[in-house]
């Protein structure tokens, strides 16, 4: 039982990292990106390939995972972010599928659908941190969450963050105030991708194997639900959202009903969360942080 709660908390941490990235993109800039799963996969595979095939230490693979994921964020962001938000959703969704497609087909490097197994376990200051020592891993993951949270929170409260919010509120007004909207959007996208890469790296180290099947569209939807449920534009809220969504997804196992409740149930529930939240509480459970946001994004009349 305790073991199971630890597992939920570890996954909450890993997904919280992705949700923090998604929040910067969706909550702050107001762009709908549907590809956290893709960057997550890239981070996972970078760590898996480097540590298994080349024997590189985990601590070196983590920043590399962030850089590679961020680089792909740049590659996909540059062409698509110059356009209106709606296209971005489809382009990013397509990108996620392409990543999975390539992982499945590029046998030489990724070992195809079989994935990569036996990722070496790590130790921190002599303390073994592995899926078998869950306390250690829990601390490790949440340290990353803390660092990610502080970094992104700072970023969002800085000049850059204000620029991002200005873009969300009114892109034309923002650009006439001298904000280079494309550049800021691309940066937000790159940061969001990089932190998802770190999350992927951690997950690879936690499961000790990677397979393309673990990075479906479902992952991106879960991350999106976390942000929507917690509250867009509020980093604390999306961490709460991450916990709630993970809790929901493991609830059947937690109460021992996993063979009674079909696996689709939770997914239907995720869909319902998106629809219901949008209709009745678009600001999420905690809502946007009030600080410098007069007239919230969602309460605005939105007449065309």
């Amino acid at each position: 039982m305790l073991n199971f709660i630890l597992l939920i908390l570890i996954y909450t941490g890993i997904y919280a990292l992705m949700a923090i990235g998604q929040n910067l993109i969706t909550g702050y800039v107001g762009l709908l990106s549907l590809t956290q799963a893709g960057f997550f996969a890239i981070g996972s595979y970078v760590t898996a390939i480097l540590s298994v095939t080349y024997g590189i230490d985990f601590w070196i693979t983590i920043p590399l995972a962030a850089i590679v994921a961020g680089f792909f964020g740049l590659v996909i962001g540059l062409p698509t972010l110059r356009l209106k938000g709606d296209y971005l959703a489809i382009a990013t969704l397509g990108f996620g599928e392409i990543v999975r497609n390539i992982l499945n087909n590029w046998d030489k490097v990724t070992n195809g659908p079989m994935g990569i197994q036996r990722i070496p376990m790590i130790s921190v200051f002599g303390v073994r941190v592995s899926p078998y020592e869950k306390w250690g891993f829990l601390v490790l993951v949440w340290l990353f969450v803390l660092v990610g949270y502080l970094l992104f929170e700072r970023l969002a409260k800085s000049r850059i963050g204000r620029a991002l919010e200005a873009i969300r509120e009114d892109e034309i007004a923002a650009s006439s105030m001298g904000i280079n909207t494309t550049r800021y959007k691309v940066w937000a996208f790159v940061f969001g991708a990089a932190i998802a890469g770190v999350a992927g790296s951690l997950q690879a180290e936690f499961i000790l194997s990677v397979t393309p099947g673990a990075f479906t569209f479902m992952v991106s939807i879960m991350v999106l639900c976390m942000v929507v449920l917690g509250g867009m534009g509020n980093f604390k809220a999306v961490i709460l959202g991450a916990f709630l969504i993970q809790f929901i997804s493991y609830f059947p196992q937690l109460v021992g009903l996993s063979n009674v409740i079909p696996p689709q149930f939770k997914q239907v529930l995720f869909g319902l969360i998106l629809v219901i939240m949008m209709i009745w509480r678009p600001q999420g459970i905690l809502g946007r942080e009030k600080r410098n946001a007069p007239g919230s994004f969602f309460r605005k009349g939105g007449r065309s």
Binding site: T26, G30, L32, L34, P79, T80, L83, G85, D86, Y87, A89, I90, A91, L93, G94, F95, E97, I98, N101, I102, N104, N105, I172, A173, F217, I221, L224, V228, P262, Q264, F265, Q267, V268, F270, G271, L272, I273, L274, V275, M277, M278, I279, P282, F297, F298, K300, G301, G302, R303, S304
Partner: protein
């Protein structure tokens, strides 16, 4: 087989695939034209329509192939279309209409939610195993000058052409079509002119969903019916709509055909591995967005403050 026969073979395959994309793309483009948002659940409406068609067909077809199975096939198709039309209207009413005055992000998120609900409900109720839809006729290919054409392809071409022509006539000539165009041009003014915009939007959803169900039922003969059948096909059809110019009905038709040809010829002539076939559409999307973001037949809309 000469190379020109080979060319016509790919052309034929590309045209049928493209016709399917075009039918689905029409739904995206019509909804986008009026509400300016992407109906993410479109692919899943297609899937539900295909299931309903499959159930109906299995219930009423006899064992032996004959004229009746073909009639039964069309009855089943109609059942799927009607069900999807109703489903599309219901979804619009429940999940999109309350958000019409909200920000752009809200209906998109809601649509993604609906899509997820539909595909998982289907998996839950009908299982994840794909179900075979039996051919209503003998599908032995006919050989015409070295080109082999299956009766299935002929069926697709006929249905697609009939649907497209009637849709084009409906939108261009009928009163409701005129109201649709007016609503898409300017909803508020249309309302002032006495057009019931809500009803027009509901009709748009119904038509788009019915077309998607038709497309789904037609490809189900080849790819079978399963809960996620609409996802990839739907995405690619959306790409087709963007390539043609979103919001533009002729553009969706053109974009669909082009995408079908591009995929077929990309694999056949350019040597793109079959496993990466799905990637072609997204590369096409990114290129068109960079070069001509309004699409081939779309018109440039200046953003106003």
């Amino acid at each position: 087989m000469g190379s020109s026969a080979e060319f016509f073979q790919h052309l034929m395959n590309g045209m049928t695939l493209g016709g399917i994309y075009a039918l689905i793309a029409l739904g995206y483009t019509m909804v986008y034209g009026i509400l300016k948002f992407i109906n993410f659940a479109h692919g899943d409406i297609l899937m539900v329509g295909s299931y309903i068609g499959l159930f109906t067909f299995d219930a009423i077809r006899g064992q032996t192939l004959g004229p009746w199975t073909i009639v039964a096939f069309f009855i089943a198709m109609l059942a799927g279309m009607l069900f999807s039309a109703g489903l599309g209207m219901a979804i619009e009413r429940i999940a999109y209409k309350p958000l019409r005055k909200a920000t752009r992000l809200a209906p998109l998120l809601s649509a993604i939610g609906v899509s997820f609900i539909l595909s998982n409900m289907a998996a839950w109720m009908w299982g994840t195993k794909s179900r075979k839809l039996e051919y209503p006729f003998d599908n032995t290919p006919l050989h015409i000058g070295g080109v082999s054409i299956t009766p299935h392809q002929i069926l697709i071409l006929i249905v697609v052409i009939v649907m497209m022509v009637s849709l084009k006539l409906f939108v261009d000539k009928s009163r409701i079509g005129k109201a649709m165009r007016a609503t898409s041009l300017d909803q508020d003014t249309a309302k002032l002119m006495g057009i019931k915009a809500d009803r027009i939007i509901a009709i748009t959803f119904a038509i788009g969903s019915a077309l998607a169900a038709t497309a789904g039922f037609l490809i189900a003969l080849e790819i079978k019916v399963y809960p996620s059948m609409g996802t990839m096909t739907g995405l690619k059809a959306f790409v087709a709509a963007v390539v043609g110019g979103i919001g533009n009905i002729s553009g969706a038709m053109l974009g669909g055909i082009l995408l079908g040809l591009l995929e077929t010829f990309g694999v056949a002539l350019l040597g793109i591995p079959y496993g990466l076939r799905d990637t072609i559409a997204f590369v096409a999307l990114i290129i068109i967005l960079l070069v001509k973001p309004e699409g081939l037949l779309g018109k440039v809309e200046k953003e106003k403050v």
